[in-house]
Amino acid sequence: MFKQANWNEPSIFALGRKGRRGHVPPKIEDEIKQTVAGVNALIPRNMRRKSQLKLPEVSEVEVVRHFMRLSQMNYGVDSGLYPLGSCTMKYNPKINELLADLPAINMAHPYQDEHTVQGILEILYRLQTWLAEITGTHDVCLQPSAGAHGEFLGTLLMRAYHRLNGEIKERKEVIVPDSAHGTNPASGTMAGFSVVVVPSDEDGCVSIEALKAAVSERTAGLMLTNPNTLGIFEENIGEIARIVHDAGGLLYYDGANLNAILGKARPGDMGFDIVHMNLHKTFSTPHGGGGPGAGPVGVSEELAKFLPIPRIVFDGENYRLVYDRPHSVGKIRSFYGNVAVLLKAYAYILSLGFEGLKEVAEVCVLNANYLAKKLKEIRGLTLPYGVEKPRKHECVFSAKQLKSETGVSSLDIAKRLLDCGLHAPTIYFPLIVDEALMIEPTETFEKEELDHFVEAMRKICEEAYTKPKVVLEAPHNTAISRLDEVKASHPRTMALSWHMYLKKKGQDV
């Protein structure tokens, strides 16, 4: 039986003793001290720190033990199945970690002379080329730090395109389906657009009629993920592209679900003008509990001139960083992107090649359909939308029936799954499914682990009918029992730092 470590580990602020330390910075040579005036003389009086830093005072031993214990109260892909829909939690190859930690990369400074960083520039240039090939786009920018950052860039590119065409004043609307990831509408807003939502049809795909009614001379573009968040391929993508393009809009591909079609089909061929990829999903770089990720953006030839500076180019002899791009939108962050992450994606593509990437897609789809088939047999769960359609990388179940019959919700199922040593699916998303359980197994997990998950789901739904209390009060085997998430956000109880926590407790700070 799974039992997560429960160290009841105190805050690091409550550990240690005055005077203890965990690391000693390099010494200042005596001659330097004798030559340069004292630190106090070097800093203008009004800018000296007078207040004592209230940081923990802990030895190296205590720091290691503290964070090692914390890690044991966490769950990753290396722990077991992590079927978090839309997040593509696949195995993160160890060799890629080792390569990204070589001094030849981690000691490289972004402003080193180009001639001294030809190795890393070559890797980045090749990665750009491969990602363009995989997505069917003309040019790829590696700079965005995450998927949502890529979306922000994508919507900025829409602005730049319409501005150059003299239509920016009219084209004020970005269209998103009601099944879209929350980042799509949020990115549209960040780029200054208003957001128009189109409903899905009974198959869970974009309603063509609704789309026709939504597009107009105000349309800047449509943001779409394909396969969509139900795991269903938008079969009408050709017509969707035509409708959007005829209206003068651009078609944006949210690459969160790219895993399903790697080496099988390409967004560029479907008419997408802008494509973002999540390297921390599709290309196996670890998610790190919330980053760092990387969200490169590929574009059609027409949009390439708008990409952020610098561009990485090869002049036949050397790899270079080019800043002279008058149409560029500018910068969305410092330097060139999350290079250490990009290197891992480069290594991943090289360890699979074309056949391997295709295998990734086929097996992740096989796994999702296998789970869909098995879970459909469980009482209380239903598979809404296009029930006869094959799923792609994920399947979205509804626990609506279970909830009405037993009172056990998707949230309860999720918590009970944790007790089985499995991570929960994404829940309550997409919004168009009641009591949603969004399940993405990826290609990573072996049939035995998938069967373990099916069995766990079967057992939990049985428990819902026979002894619901055990599910309603789950989890029981995690480091801590069910948490009050509302309390964390209530102004009276809110403690967002140790300082605030002590203040709320009425202690001296």
């Binding site: 997560q4 690391h23 800018m47 802990v58 400074h109 960083v117 919330g290 056949e355 967002l496």
Partner: protein, 463 residues
């Protein structure tokens, strides 16, 4: 279909695939792609290299990377937004812990207490360093954090002008402009005093108005000097109803007055130097902290971890707080679209700050201050150099002007490379008024010998 499975894809074994296909009731995997219109099925294999075994891959990448000559191969004096500091072994050990490395954003807090607590401790230590009370658990980098902070200030004040110093990192300014433009915000730059580099209070007072949403300063400034008029600028910003934003290099905060002590409403900055390697400029780690004011907190971008209790109130734990600000709930009305951030880099910084503690961070600041000023002293022996350009106190970075030699920074840089040294960043294009000027950086990792080697090489080059 291959008979053997790929090491990363256990179900790629033919026999297992067949078993699973039988369960689903299909004969070929192609049936699962039948709904993809034929014309979109790839007709040709993608033009990608043949796959490599792990050993071949390792050799390949190592061979390519061996073309790099990094700051590991020869001393480097580059900073300008990404800095070379020592990363203690403990930091690497912790961030490679699989349970942290391979986890997702902690949506299920009960099984993710480790990540949540580590991020809460990062937030808390950033608060202590900056003198603020609330911090989020990271943004992409300093530049994007500044963009988010200014948008937040505009939302809070209902105004649309941002005042920033003329002396600012060009990437930071460019990023800010990109974040500001869609929100119809205008970025105005405030002139500096030609002698000291300090913000010109006259120009500042001319430019601040009842349209000003935020006044932003940096400490230390992009060119390394300490801005000292912080109290006046902060007071004036507040008197005019604007928010006061401060950008920091946190390695200075063991010895410099924290922005919380001079009235900052929002602090942004770059925490890469706290335990994260340079990695050719990314990942970085954007600091975002503010005052404990519910109006501010509700407008913050990014993930925030808070303390809570179990439902029965018996134990304390951690979870994501204030998610109703965020894109997955609020969608187009979210305060930001940020989802994936730089969480593991924040854990690295938490470990780093815990290791150094109050004494270590003070010593770190002092060591950097001593060594950078020793470098200024040492280089000043070369009479033709103007160093630093501005008469102000400098921390970690300082300008070197070569106009007295009639030689370009580019030429100096190339000759330094021949001498096995990465010289400072050429800033003459970004700040043409400063002439042929480079920005040099010295941290705790530079030895006295390395600094003197730089001086000797420059003496030789300029002779």
């Amino acid at each position: 279909m291959s008979k053997h499975s790929h090491p990363y894809i256990p179900n790629s074994l033919l026999e297992i695939k067949q078993e699973m296909m039988r369960e689903i009731g299909i004969k070929s995997l192609e049936e699962l792609y039948e709904d993809v219109p034929q014309r979109y099925h790839l007709k040709e294999p993608l033009k990608l290299p043949e796959p490599l075994s792990e050993f071949e891959l390792k050799k390949h990448v190592e061979t390519l990377l061996s073309k790099n000559k990094t700051c590991d191969d020869m001393p480097g004096f580059l900073g300008a937004g990404c800095w070379q500091h020592y990363v203690p072994a403990v930091v690497k050990e912790i961030v490679q812990r699989s349970e942290l490395l391979t986890s997702y954003t902690p949506y299920q807090p009960e099984i993710s207490q480790g990540m949540l607590q580590a991020l809460f401790e990062y937030q808390s230590m950033i608060c202590e360093l900056t003198g603020m009370e609330v911090a989020n658990c990271s943004l992409y980098d300093w530049a994007s954090a500044l963009g988010e902070a200014c948008r937040m200030a505009a939302r809070l004040t209902g105004r649309n002008e941002i005042l920033v110093p003329k002396i600012i990192h060009p990437d930071r300014l460019a990023t800010l402009q990109v974040y500001a433009d869609p929100a119809r915000m205008i970025v105005k730059q405030v002139a500096y005093n030609k002698e000291t580099g300090q913000i010109s209070l006259d120009d500042f007072k001319n430019k601040i108005s009842d349209k000003t949403a935020a006044v932003y300063i940096e400490n230390p400034s992009y060119l390394g000097f300490i801005e000292t008029q912080v109290d006046e600028i902060g007071k004036e910003a507040h008197a005019r109803g604007a928010l006061f934003l401060v950008g920091v290099d946190p390695t200075s905060l063991g010895i410099l007055k924290p922005p919380g002590n001079y009235g900052a409403d929002i602090v942004v900055g770059e925490a890469q130097p706290l335990g994260n390697p340079m990695n050719f400029g990314g990942p970085l780690l954007g600091i975002f902290a503010c005052r404990d004011d519910i109006k501010l907190i509700r407008q913050m971008p990014g993930r925030i971890i808070g303390i809570t209790t179990t439902l029965d109130g018996s134990r304390q734990g951690y979870c994501m707080a204030l998610q109703t600000r965020e894109q997955h709930i609020r969608r187009e009305k979210a305060t930001s679209n940020v989802c994936t951030n730089e969480a593991l880099c924040a854990v690295a910084s938490a470990v780093y700050m815990a290791l150094l503690g109050p004494e270590g961070l003070k010593e770190l600041g002092e060591t950097i201050m001593y060594k950078a000023n020793y470098a200024i002293h040492s280089l000043s022996k070369i009479e033709s150099l103007t160093i630093p350009v501005f008469k102000s106190a400098h921390f970690k970075e300082f300008t070197v002007n070569f106009d007295g030699n009639g030689i370009s920074v580019k030429d100096v840089h190339e000759k330094l490379l021949e001498n096995g040294i990465h010289g400072g960043k050429d800033v003459s294009k970004d700040f043409p008024k400063l002439g042929e000027t480079a920005l040099y950086c010295v941290t705790e990792i530079h030895s006295k010998e390395e600094i003197e080697r730089l001086t000797a090489s420059l003496e030789k080059i300029l002779a």
